[in-house]
């Protein structure tokens, strides 16, 4: 059955200093409730919105990065509805059913393996405040607690065409979007709630269902899978799928009917008279493009052509700006790109759990920095340690944060190369592996099996060279 998925991505412009329409700080996290407000973002009578120039600049960068066309002028409309987290009981947004006033339209973003999706529009709008419940649940609290610290924080909304048919593709696309906004420096994706995604999905040409309240990009894929299955099941049983809004229940991992009567809404859009029509000017696009940081695709290209990385490895690095930055930083200390890239992509990534990967805070809690990896790579390149030792060292230093050279020293210090000690272990192994010993007497190569047992018994601390020598001596003696 044909599946059509469209996305509505909201990205907080955590990179700007102030809110979209007033000079309150944009950074509201962790502050005392209602300590980051002013008359304007509180919706006091007589206050007027003052559009933030940097927010417009950032929204322009996002539009260009997504291949959009930027119009000569942009304007803001009012989306009128009542809700306790909305100080003015209308939201200032660029959405407009009557013409083009958003900052970006008709874009296209390629992702994955020569796939691409259309970008319908990119627009600026303001975030509402936050509702909190003392009992933790909306249903059981006898009053709501409202915090306006977040009210007025700038959001960029990216709306795609319904060009997706597979949740896996959606995931790839969202990863790319995240990488782009990280590289542009407009939004710190690691902050909780800084990027949100709602999805629209229909199956077999049926009704379109909107899924809201998905808290992370990773959950979007899960929510879509659930919803597609739900719709397919209903259709196969000849049940009507209703066109509605459903909420993702993260705890129970399912979508459920929304409690708010969203079909009743008539938003009565009209142009806001207090925010002037902004004339971007002929050189806005050129100036914005010129001041834009390097985009992930360009950076990947550079990694491949300049550093000789494989496409796959380069892709993993740029998928997450943190990693790409880590890589280039390590190169500054020791220029061995392929070696360092592999250490990062293959080995370091092995120490990061899935959850952290989903939340895009890859390096949280990891105590190694670019200098560590650079030194590790250098030590291996110069034959100071072999690869398997290096891997062991990495395992230790991600917890301890020591430099590899220090860890190696410690390791050497605990290496067992004392003859008597080793002989004790070897004798013990010979006792338990009589068959292998017989084999080894005839076939010298089989000694490696016994060596392995010795290494096992010493938890890898036996000096392999010394152990092998002693082992072979013993074998000779024993015959």
């Amino acid at each position: 059955m044909e599946t059509r998925i469209g996305l509505e991505i909201h990205c907080q412009l955590t990179g700007v200093g102030t809110k979209l329409f007033c000079s309150c700080k944009c950074d509201y996290r962790g502050k005392e409730p209602n300590s980051n407000v002013c008359p304007t973002c509180s919706g006091l009578p007589g206050t007027l919105p003052l559009l933030n120039r940097k927010a417009v600049e950032f929204a322009g960068m996002i539009s260009l990065a997504l291949g959009c066309r930027i119009p000569d002028e942009i304007a803001f409309y009012r989306k009128n509805y009542f809700y306790p987290d909305l100080p003015k009981n209308f939201q200032l947004t660029q959405y407009n059913a009557y013409g083009v006033t958003s900052i970006g339209v008709d874009g296209r973003l390629s992702y994955g393996d020569s796939k691409s999706a259309g970008i319908r529009r990119v627009q600026l709008e303001e975030d509402p405040g936050r509702l909190v419940y003392e009992t933790g649940s909306m249903e059981t609290s006898s009053y709501a607690l409202v915090d306006y610290n977040r009210a007025g924080v700038p959001l960029v909304e990216v709306v795609t065409e319904p060009d997706f048919d597979d949740p896996k593709d959606v995931r790839l696309f969202l990863d790319k979007i995240a990488s782009i906004i990280e590289h542009l420096g407009v939004c710190d994706t690691k902050l909780e709630g800084s990027v949100r995604c709602d999805a629209n999905v229909s199956v077999g040409g049926g009704s379109r269902v909107e899924i809201k309240n998905v808290s992370s990009f990773a959950d979007v894929e899960k929510a879509l899978r659930y919803e597609i299955t739900r719709q397919r099941t209903m259709t196969s049983r000849d049940m009507q799928v209703r066109s509605e809004t459903r909420h993702w229940d993260d705890a129970r991992k399912l979508t459920k009917e929304s409690r708010t009567k969203e079909e009743e809404q008539d938003y009565r859009y009209f142009p806001d008279p207090d925010v002037p029509t902004v004339v971007l000017g002929g050189d806005f696009v050129a100036l914005t493009r010129a001041s834009m940081p390097e985009l992930p695709d360009a950076r990947k290209e550079r990694f491949v052509t300049r550093f000789g990385l494989s496409g796959h490895v380069a892709q993993v690095l740029i998928d997450n700006k943190e990693l790409a930055d880590f890589f280039e930083s390590a190169l500054k200390t020791y220029e061995s790109p392929i070696e360092i890239a592999n250490w990062i992509v293959t080995d370091l990534m092995g120490f990061i759990d899935e959850r952290q990967k989903e939340e895009r805070s890859l390096l949280l809690g990891i105590k190694v920095g670019p200098e560590h990896i650079a030194e590790l790579a250098r030590m291996v390149d110069r034959g100071m340690i072999n690869r398997s030792t290096a891997k062991q060292i990495l395992g230790q230093i991600v917890q301890s944060g020591e430099m590899p050279s220090q860890a190696a020293k410690k390791m050497r210090a605990s290496i067992i190369d004392d003859e008597n000690e080793l002989l004790k272990v070897i004798d013990s192994v010979f006792k338990s592996e009589k068959a292998a010993v017989t084999d080894a007497k005839r076939n010298p190569n089989a000694a490696n099996f016994l060596l392995g047992k010795v290494m096992q018994a010493t938890k890898g601390l036996a000096d392999p060279k010394a152990a092998l020598e002693l082992l072979q001596k013993r074998l000779k003696e024993a015959s």
């Binding site: 008359p39 509180s42 919706g43 006091l44 009578p45 007589g46 206050t47 007027l48 919105p49 003052l50 559009l51 009012r78 009128n80 009542f82 306790p84 100080p87 003015k88 009981n89 209308f90 009557y98 006898s142 009053y143 709501a144 409202v146 306006y148 008539d266 009565r268 859009y269 009209f270 008279p273 207090d274 925010v275 002037p276």
Partner: protein, 480 residues
């Protein structure tokens, strides 16, 4: 010495030259207010103690030879929909019964810098919606010329306080004529600036694409001096135009080309028409070239105004849900939709009607039929006005089509009430400046002449107004 009768210019001069003290002036005004307020009811709040303190401060600075502003000591009343920090700003509504703004409107700040003294907050129609100041929770303001009649609105308190000699000047707000209408009905001067000339920061929004704060005074000169204090770019209001204008009363006034708008004259009562014609003749006698002109789109002006104004109002007033500020009503026990709906049932009739009409015209499916068409009318009017202003310096006509009517006469018939705005809404729709100047009396009731000029041509408009004011010699005060 009866200094309470003096206009702003004379007060400022007198205080500066120490002919009399600001304290004495304010004291006399406060006594005057006490005497006439029971009849006029122009004030929501009187700031007696604070005004006297400010007056003493002015006197001290004058005595010490310090620099004082051009309006130092002048008593001003401010419409109660303009925010003054720490003083109740109620908009004549239950919804803002307890509201104390934590900030000053820009115009208030500028008046303070000029040295003016706030003597009280003036009464208005609730949220500035009305033409008679009858829709006020604090009772109607009465016309000082006949207290059984309306003073006009919505800035009725502003005009009445100036006419009744309770203060020298006032600040009102004009969305569809709300400064000019009461100025005309009370025989004082009222000016609506070009849209974007005066900051709206601190003006409680009713229809924000149409409204401007405007001064009221007993002479064109006083109104001009208030404009000099308040007009000009404000970084807190992105709809203000760049620059800071300065108006003088020495403008060249000979040879003005005046257009008498026939649609305004035709719609007026015979007595009003007669006085208007007389005014045009007076101007001609002063060397102006007067001729009849036509502004055809006046036909659609009221429908356009009431579409846009109600639409914007329905959205601007949505914020009054009593959660962040308002009046005392505990939210506990209520579900939020019920709380909002109950709280907002405390708006007055006229406000409720306009919010509902506004929601209607903006609702899905009707946007093109009403709102877009209404915007089209604005463009049409502007086009026609631009064309007329190519060949005329100013356009004139009666400010109001009728004489001040009895209190209660139109209060139950909203549409009849709306029709009195026919001459004034044009200036708001097109964003051009307009001023009402006393033109005479009919049956003892005031008639005003409205003068309009092109955008940002306030100086031309003031020149014509001043010329007419001298020629007409209508200045007098009501018996109270």
């Amino acid at each position: 010495m009866e200094v309470w009768r003096l206009g702003a210019a004379d007060v400022a001069a007198g205080i500066r030259s120490r002919e009399f003290s600001a304290e004495e002036y304010i004291q006399q005004l406060l006594e005057r207010i006490e005497r006439v307020e029971p009849k006029v009811n122009a004030f929501v709040t009187v700031q007696g103690k604070e005004a006297l303190e400010k007056a003493r401060l002015v006197d001290r600075r004058v005595k010490d030879g310090e620099q004082v502003g051009p309006l130092a000591g002048v008593a001003v009343s401010i419409k109660d929909n303009i925010c003054v920090k720490g003083i109740k700003t109620t908009c004549a509504s239950k919804m803002l019964e307890n509201y104390l703004p934590p900030y000053d409107a820009t115009v208030v700040r500028r008046l303070n810098e000029a040295g003016a003294i706030l003597i009280g907050k003036a009464n208005l129609d609730e949220f500035a919606m009305g033409s008679t100041t009858e829709f006020s929770r604090d009772g109607p303001t009465r016309n000082p010329w006949d207290i059984g009649r309306v003073p006009g609105g919505s800035s009725g308190g502003s005009a009445a306080s100036v006419a009744a000699l309770e203060c020298a000047v006032s600040l009102g707000s004009d969305t569809g004529g709300s400064v000019r209408c009461p100025a005309s009905f009370c025989s004082v001067v009222g000016l609506k600036p070009t849209y974007g000339l005066v900051s709206r920061y601190g003006l409680v929004s009713y229809a924000n694409s149409l409204e401007q704060i405007g001064p009221v005074g007993r002479t064109v000169s006083d109104v001009a001096s208030v404009m000099n204090a308040i007009a000009g770019y404000d970084e807190s209001d992105n709809t203000t135009a760049p620059g800071k204008p300065s108006y003088s009363m020495n403008g060249k006034s000979g040879g003005l080309r005046v257009g008498l708008v026939k649609e305004f004259v035709q719609g007026a009562d015979p007595q009003v028409e007669k006085i208007t014609q007389g005014a045009a003749n007076m101007l001609a006698d002063q060397g102006c070239r007067c001729e009849e002109v036509s502004l055809p789109s006046v036909e659609f002006a009221l429908a356009s105004y009431y579409t846009i104004a109600t639409a914007e109002a329905s959205s601007n007033l949505a914020r009054y849900d009593n959660v962040r500020y308002g009046f005392d009503m505990s939210p506990e026990g209520y579900e939020w939709n019920s709380y909002f709906a109950k709280v907002r049932s405390n708006f007055g009739d006229e406000v409720k009607r306009r919010i509902i009409v506004g929601s209607y015209v903006l609702s899905s499916g009707y946007y093109g039929k009403y709102y877009l068409k209404a915007q089209q009318v604005r463009s049409l009017l502007r086009k026609e006005l631009k064309s007329l202003f190519k060949t005329h310096d100013v356009l004139v006509g009666p400010t109001m089509p009728i004489l001040p009517f009895k209190i209660g006469e139109k209060v139950d018939d909203p549409l009849k009430m709306y029709l009195v705005d026919v001459d004034t809404v044009v200036a708001n729709l097109a964003g051009v400046p307009a001023i009402s100047v006393p033109a005479g009396f009919a049956d003892g009731l005031p008639v005003g002449l409205q003068v309009m000029a092109d955008q940002f041509e306030e100086q031309k408009m003031l020149n014509a107004a001043s010329l007419f004011e001298s020629a007409a010699g209508v200045q007098r005060s009501p018996e109270l």
